[in-house]
Subunit: 142 residues, 2 copies
DNA sequence: CAGCATCCACTCTGATACTG
DNA sequence: CAGTATCAGAGTGGATGCTG
């Protein structure tokens, strides 16, 4: 693992004599950040906006599958967290330009790393998934 | 995970009726993979299992906040996708050991990169979020 | 053009109770 | 110990209609 965040491991990884909960781990920012960026559209928008700035309907057309509602919601969320900048040009008709903030641009790299992983290994995942299903899934309510 | 999906790209996914520039991206495996790993517990388990193997109740205690249901579901999901290996030792009482597969271990690095980003920039996000809220929250159902 | 409001379906998550 | 079954609530995402 490459220099991990919650390095509490001196306790956890070696001895673990008692039920040391991973408080510092379970409650660490990773989960929160994933909740923000791990939804259906956020990371897509971040990577997209990493190339250039877009206008609202431009994004709507580019993604093709996202609803106005989710586009707006996602952009607002990213804006709220300081990842995306929203600039309104008071023209007629109005035009709004979305772009990444410096903070948002820093996210671009780790996100791309994960995206690359996804592209690279998706076939393996699909294969593993298919094999499991053929084996007879215990379904549950999954 | 029922909606947009690009099926196994190996052989079958070269010609789709799509009108967009982002096709290879918007419908690419990134979204699917994020849906798998982007839930509340998956990446936590992956990073945790990246250190060593764990038994079921050991994980349950370690994470402290996850329900049995979600622990089982998440493990099953990761197992289905070939990221986690589940080995049952036919002892009495039974013991089940969970560990990362080689594929799962490859995920560890990009995941850690993102985790590092999260830890590093979480304060900025929290700050940006706090400032936005003071500005006046939009109603909507966000 | 760039949204907001409303309704609705589906998913995710957790609490609780029970089993081999 | 290592799960499974069921119920219920919150959250997510989409369709449609309307506005400045």
């Amino acid at each position: 693992m490459s220099g991990t965040h919650t390095d509490v491991p001196s306790v956890v990884a070696h001895e673990l004599p008692r039920p040391v909960p991973l408080d510092e781990f379970a409650a660490c920012p990773v989960g929160e950040v994933f909740r923000r960026v791990g939804d259906r559209w956020s990371m897509l928008l971040v990577i997209l906006l990493g190339r250039r700035s877009y206008r609202y309907n431009e994004l709507h057309r580019a993604i093709e599958g996202i609803s106005q509602r989710m586009l707006t919601r996602t952009l607002r969320g990213l804006e709220t967290d300081g990842l995306v900048h929203r600039e309104v040009h008071p023209t007629v008709p109005p035009s709004v330009e979305y772009s990444l903030t410096p903070l948002g641009r820093t996210l671009l790299e780790p996100l791309s790393a994960l995206a690359d992983w996804a592209v690279l290994h998706e076939p393996e995942i699909a294969k593993a998934r298919a094999e499991r299903i053929r084996g007879g899934g215990p379904s549950s309510d999954l």
